[in-house]
């Protein structure tokens, strides 16, 4: 009996020796807070722009070719409005653009969009709610700059830019030009000019607005539903719906009748508006 039990004890599988994990644990406990502290969870991106050069190199042209008049599309940001200018004549319905006949290429004011302080109210409420949660008073400067930036009507600016784009395209089609050709020189450039005291945030917002097509609130809702549906069907968690410039892709699916997602090169004007 006794011998059996000793034999049992002798040949019984020994419990595996435990690794001494204490030093590793110590290391990890220190490393993880350190890395968490220094990790940034904000995604950065960039917005491109080019500086308008005072005297650009004139393009090489055939001597017989008449130089095309530049479109000179420009958005001016003033303290109380957006002013859209272009060296194009719109017909009465605003559907067809054509260059001035005398070739003077003088930019004319096409639209003015005034600010509306009531527009900023939604954004301000969001900000107030955010700071109420933090239990801190809102900094006066932040309140002021938010009010300033969000009083502008970006959707309308976007719509008007879209109208001009469409009108230029209609005009080109009417003049019998092939796709991709235009009656205007630099038809895909937009110049932004601003007054000196316009905050940088507003400049970035305007650049975002003029660069590509924006969605109306109704379209935004439709878009959300569409994405939710797609997710449910395909099980994807990430759906690519913007190109690298942040322009929304595939607007036809939303029933947008002028479904051209347009893209403009943004040029910064070299002079401030007085």
């Amino acid at each position: 009996m006794a011998s059996k039990s000793t034999a049992k004890r002798k040949f019984a599988p020994k419990p595996a020796p435990e690794l001494d994990l204490k030093p590793i644990m110590n290391l990890m406990v220190v490393l993880i807070p350190m890395l968490l502290y220094s990790a940034s969870f904000i995604k950065f991106a960039s917005v491109n722009a080019t500086k308008a050069s005072g005297q650009g190199k004139p393009k090489e042209l055939d001597p017989d070719d008449k130089p095309k008049p530049p479109l000179k599309l420009m958005v001016k940001i003033t303290e109380d409005s957006f002013i859209i200018e272009a060296a194009a004549l719109l017909d009465e319905e605003g559907m067809i653009a054509s260059p001035a006949e005398d070739g003077s290429a003088q930019a004319v004011e096409l639209f003015t969009i005034d600010i509306d302080e009531a527009k900023a109210e939604d954004r301000l409420n969001l900000l107030r709610a955010e700071y109420k949660e933090k239990k801190r008073p809102i900094p006066e400067s932040l309140l002021e700059s938010t009010k300033k930036v969000y009083s502008y009507d970006f959707l309308q600016l976007n719509t008007k830019i879209g109208i001009i784009k469409k009108a230029v395209k209609n005009g080109d089609a009417q003049a019998g030009l092939e796709k991709g050709e235009s009656q205007f020189d630099k038809a895909d450039q937009i110049v932004i000019a601003a007054q000196g005291n316009i905050p940088y945030e507003l400049l970035i917002k305007v650049m975002d607005t003029v660069r590509c097509k924006m969605l109306t609130p109704a379209q935004k809702e439709a878009r959300k539903e569409e994405i939710a549906e797609k997710k449910a069907k395909e099980g994807k968690t990430k759906i690519r719906n913007r190109n690298k410039y942040g322009c929304i892709l595939d607007l036809k699916a939303l029933g947008d009748e002028d479904a051209n997602t347009y893209y403009y090169d943004v040029i910064l004007n070299s002079k401030l508006i007085e």
Partner: protein, 194 residues
């Protein structure tokens, strides 16, 4: 007799108790040897966390330290930040990243002092110190292009990292200065979002 029996009984009981205690102690010892703390799952979590954090640490190159003086605006743009010369425009100063002499242009009430402008006049739209620094950088990059046999092209790209409340006047001066110094293509750093 009764007394003796009782005594015997008590001794037996004590002996039994002792046996039970020994058994209990042995059991405790055995448990300690095999059980330990349930550290394995914790280790798993920590190892995975560590890997993820190290990964996020590795693309530190394009991260920007934000502070009270430097709050970036949000934008819908999704273009990636590139490795370029970076100019920081905070509420108090304009700084070029990795400037060997650590120069900076002070901002007063979010304005560049007239004395810092070229020829002391704000109408030139050129910030003298910034122009010096950027020209040095441009020369260095052009030298690098030459030395590498055109492999590391000088693209004239510059990233401007500015606080969202900075007035356009200052941004315009910075853009103008960099364009004069050879950096014609401007990238504005933003936070993704809307």
């Amino acid at each position: 007799m009764d007394k003796k029996k009782e005594h015997q009984l008590r001794i037996d009981k004590m002996f039994e108790d002792q046996q039970a205690l020994k058994k209990f102690i042995r059991k405790l010892k055995r448990e300690k040897a095999t059980g330990g703390m349930g550290m394995n799952s914790l280790m798993d979590i920590m190892t995975i966390l560590l890997i993820f954090l190290l990964k996020s640490f590795s693309n530190k190159a394009d991260s920007i330290q934000m502070s009270e003086e430097l709050q970036l605006p949000k934008s819908t743009g999704l273009l990636k930040l590139e490795q370029t010369i970076k100019v920081y425009v905070t509420k108090n100063s304009i700084i070029v990243e990795k400037d060997s002499k650590g120069r900076e242009v002070k901002l007063q009430n979010e304005m560049v002092d007239d004395a810092d402008m070229k020829d002391g006049s704000p109408d030139t739209h050129i910030i003298a110190t910034l122009k010096d620094i950027l020209e040095e950088k441009a020369d260095y990059l052009k030298d690098l292009e030459r030395a590498s046999g055109g492999k590391r092209k000088f693209k004239g790209l510059i990233t401007i990292i500015a606080d969202k409340t900075i007035p356009y006047r200052v941004i315009n001066d910075v853009v103008e200065t960099s364009s004069v110094s050879g950096f014609k293509k401007v990238k504005f750093a933003v936070i993704q979002g809307s």
